[in-house]
């Protein structure tokens, strides 16, 4: 139960239009107050449990997303917030858009909406918590995501 009571989130904005971001931040504000569940928006991935991703991923962001994901210690959960993060949304066939977050890293839960209401994001966090518990129990580790293929890390 320890994990479920203290989920620290890291918010990663990859190519989002800000709509979802401000709703994620709004979750922490007095009206919704996610800290009731122990949620803290922690800055560094090293201390995070839940990775909240907003936005459809673009090519410049792919490595950022992977690096941050790799730096979160297990057990960890990825929560895709908003239509863009889930499937690419309205931007799914833009030239610089890779698609939903699940194209790059494994995603555990999705929150629909453009933009999702803070309540929906809270629902998503609660859903993520049970997944987190299961992962801990089953000792499921997030696989290290390799930087490869079309998203080569350097051009040097």
């Amino acid at each position: 139960m320890s994990l479920a009571k203290s989920p620290w989130i890291i918010h990663v904005n990859v190519n989002s239009c800000n709509g979802c971001d401000i709703e994620v931040v709004a979750c922490l504000t007095p009206l919704y107050d996610a800290e009731r569940f122990g949620v803290l928006n922690i800055g560094t991935p090293k201390q995070a449990d839940i990775m909240v991703v907003t936005g459809s991923v673009n090519y410049k962001n792919v490595n950022v997303l992977k690096n941050i994901y790799n730096q979160i210690p297990d057990p960890k959960v990825v929560l895709a917030v908003g239509a863009c993060a889930s499937t690419g949304g309205i931007f799914h066939d833009c030239y610089n858009v890779v698609g939903g977050v699940d194209q790059v890293i494994p995603v555990d839960a999705y929150v629909p909406g453009c933009c999702p209401r803070p309540e929906a994001i809270l629902d998503g966090v609660v859903a993520a918590l049970s997944i987190l518990e299961n992962k801990k129990k089953g000792n499921i580790k997030g696989k290290e995501v390799k930087l490869k293929g079309k998203e080569v890390p350097s051009n040097a």
Partner: protein
């Protein structure tokens, strides 16, 4: 027999210095090992021989006196010749003044019938420092100098080792001599040796700094000789212990000898590079690192504080004592502040040395038994720690080719043993349970009765923490830009490890050291000993307790916990948090910048140049310290 040991202590270094000249370079290594072993043996032997006074009377005395006379003439001639050759007029002027004073002494001052060498516990400590730490430094030098000379295209090692060894002999004489005339001779010999060593590189910078050292030390020497002349002519005192006997603990007697004592102290200040004179010690940084180590830890500067501490009975509790205490603590805080803005490791160490010597002088000035005990202990612990730090800096410089603190970032990965030793040296300078902090604690407790001094000490110790913490953190951090080539020569690493071990051992056995050396010495100086007990791993005085044993235990506990938990909790190594833009292939500290190329992130420490910059503070320091010295002198004259 103590007489033999004493003579050997002076003769053996001179013998070795001649051997260094005579034998080829390839044998230096063995010579240095031999010197180290003999040095250790002799000094331990002296301690085992116990204390005593060696009287030199007729018929030997006349011969010795003649040697002394000839040497003094030679010294003055050398100074005059050298300063004339390099057209250094201030030094020449000072040399002429010295010569005049010498002539005056020769004609007007009544001669003495015999000379005496006084071996008390303080001398024993000093002998131990000089002959163990000093020879360790020479041993280190054999592993160091070849590369040093190679870089600078020099070939002066014969002179180097000759002077270094000779220096040790002079120091041995200095700390044992009781007759003021002899003391003065050894005093000038060390000055001369330091001049040769500082200008070792023979480039313009080296020679200039050598002359600065020479000039400032001549100023000190002049003050010293005036003091000696005054003592001899007015009070008919010709020995160091005689001053203490004369003044006793009697306030009136103290007041009468205050002026010559103050002059002697000024000589000590110059030698110890206290505030208005500090520039020579900083200039001495141009010399090879073993020279700095020797000057800073075991020899030169210790001579000054040695003299001041020996004079404690002549000013303890008087207004002169208070003035000296304020002056010393002022140097402590000022030089700690100056060290804050330095990024050159050797300069940091230099300022730290001056600051610590200031602390010793302040403790001596306070003059309570506790404070004097602190002063003597600080000389011991500071010598070991500072020698280690200097040698480590030298070795780091050879490893990474820089003495800039910022360049040392991440050294732990490239040279773990060296870094650990350097870290130990730094930790021992500022954290419990190590000796230096213990003595700092003692002196703070002792100084708590003097408001000005304690406030200075408080500020200074906070500043000390800051500049060492910066350096410590930097070498222990985990990234390295520089190309580091650790050379693992036994000649260099043995002295380092030996000194590191010495720090730990002396810190653990601090109470035994206190009981054996310091307590009797304080009794000799002040007739009373501090009330200190050492039960239950604590160093307890009347007003506090220093639980060093508990801290050692806790430190060991931390290591144990770390080793036990190291492999728990599924350990994993990951990359740095670089806001997501890492480069995992080349360097883990690289990140991608706006131009889509990779760049290394780096961090430098805060140096506060604007607040604690050298140029600003130095002027202020000169002004205030000169005022303080004038006050001390004025107090001495009785104004």
């Amino acid at each position: 027999m103590i007489e033999n040991t004493v003579m050997l202590l002076i003769i053996v270094p001179i013998l070795f210095s001649l051997l260094f000249v005579a034998l080829p370079k390839s044998l230096y290594k063995y010579l240095a090992w031999a010197f180290f072993i003999i040095g250790v043996a002799l000094s331990v032997n002296l301690v085992l021989d116990g204390t005593g006074v060696v009287q030199i009377g007729e018929p030997n005395f006349a011969m010795f006196e003649n040697i002394v006379l000839i040497l003094e003439v030679l010294i003055i001639l050398f100074i005059l010749a050298v300063s004339a050759k390099y057209k250094n007029w201030p030094t020449l002027g000072l040399g002429i003044v010295s010569a005049a004073l010498f002539a005056y002494t020769f004609t007007n001052v009544p001669g003495v019938e015999g000379a005496s060498l006084n071996i008390d516990q303080f001398s024993q400590i000093m002998i131990l420092i000089v002959n163990i730490v000093g020879t360790a430094i020479i041993l280190f030098a054999t592993g160091y100098m070849d590369e040093y000379e190679e870089h600078r295209h020099l070939n002066r090692q014969k002179i180097f080792y000759f002077t270094m060894s000779f220096f040790l002999g002079a120091m041995n004489g200095l700390v044992m001599a009781d007759t003021l005339g002899w003391l003065f001779l050894f005093w000038e010999l060390t000055t001369l040796c330091s001049f040769v060593l500082i200008s070792y590189n023979m480039d313009e910078e080296g020679i200039n700094n050598g002359f600065r050292a020479l000039a400032l030390n001549l100023v000190g020497g002049i003050a010293l000789s005036i003091g000696i002349i005054l003592l001899a002519t007015k009070y008919e005192i010709s020995t160091l212990s005689g001053i203490g006997t004369y003044a006793g603990t009697d306030a009136a007697a103290m007041a009468t000898v205050a002026l010559p004592v103050a002059l002697l102290c000024i000589g000590g200040f110059a030698k110890s590079a206290q505030m208005p004179f500090q520039s020579w010690l900083l200039g001495a940084m141009v010399a090879p690192t073993p020279v700095s180590a020797l000057l800073h830890s075991s020899t030169m500067v210790n001579a000054g504080v040695f003299l001041v501490v020996k004079l404690v009975p002549a000013f303890a509790g008087s207004s002169l004592g208070t003035a000296i205490a304020v002056y010393g603590s002022f140097t402590f805080v000022m030089c700690s502040a100056l060290a804050l803005s330095q990024r050159n490791a050797k300069r940091v160490l230099a300022y730290s040395t001056i600051a610590n010597l200031g602390l010793i002088i302040a403790s001596a000035g306070i003059g309570t038994p506790l404070a004097v005990a602190a002063a003597i202990m600080l000389i011991l612990f500071h010598a070991i720690s500072k020698a280690l730090l200097f040698l480590c800096t030298g070795e780091i410089e050879h490893t990474i080719g820089s003495r800039d603190i910022e360049d040392m970032s991440g050294l732990i990965n490239k040279a773990p043993l060296l870094t650990t030793l350097a870290a130990l040296g730094m930790v021992s300078m500022l954290l419990p349970p190590f000796g230096v902090l213990l003595t700092k604690w003692v002196s703070m407790e002792a100084a708590s009765s003097n408001p000005v001094v304690i406030v200075f000490l408080v500020l200074g110790s906070a500043l000390t923490t800051v500049y060492y913490a910066k350096w410590l953190g930097t070498i222990l951090s985990s990234s390295m830009d520089k190309n580091a080539v650790p050379h693992k020569k036994p000649e260099t690493y043995f002295p380092l490890s030996f000194l590191g071990l010495a720090i730990v051992v002396t810190s653990i056995f601090v109470f035994s050291i206190y009981n054996y050396f310091i307590k009797p010495q304080v009794e000799i100086l002040l007739k009373t000993a501090p009330v200190i007990s050492g039960q239950a791993g604590q160093f307890t005085s009347e007003i506090g307790a220093f639980a060093y044993a508990a801290i050692f235990v806790v430190l060991a506990l931390a290591v144990l916990i770390y080793l036990a938990t190291k492999n728990m909790f599924t350990p994993r190594t990951s990359s740095y948090y670089m806001c997501g833009e890492n480069n995992l292939e080349k360097d883990r500290l690289m990140f991608r910048n706006g131009l889509c190329s990779y760049e290394k992130s780096s961090v430098s420490n805060i140096y506060l140049q604007n607040t604690f910059g050298e140029s600003k503070l130095t002027t202020l320091g000169y002004a205030i310290s000169i005022i303080l010295i004038v006050i001390a002198l004025a107090g001495g004259v009785g104004l």
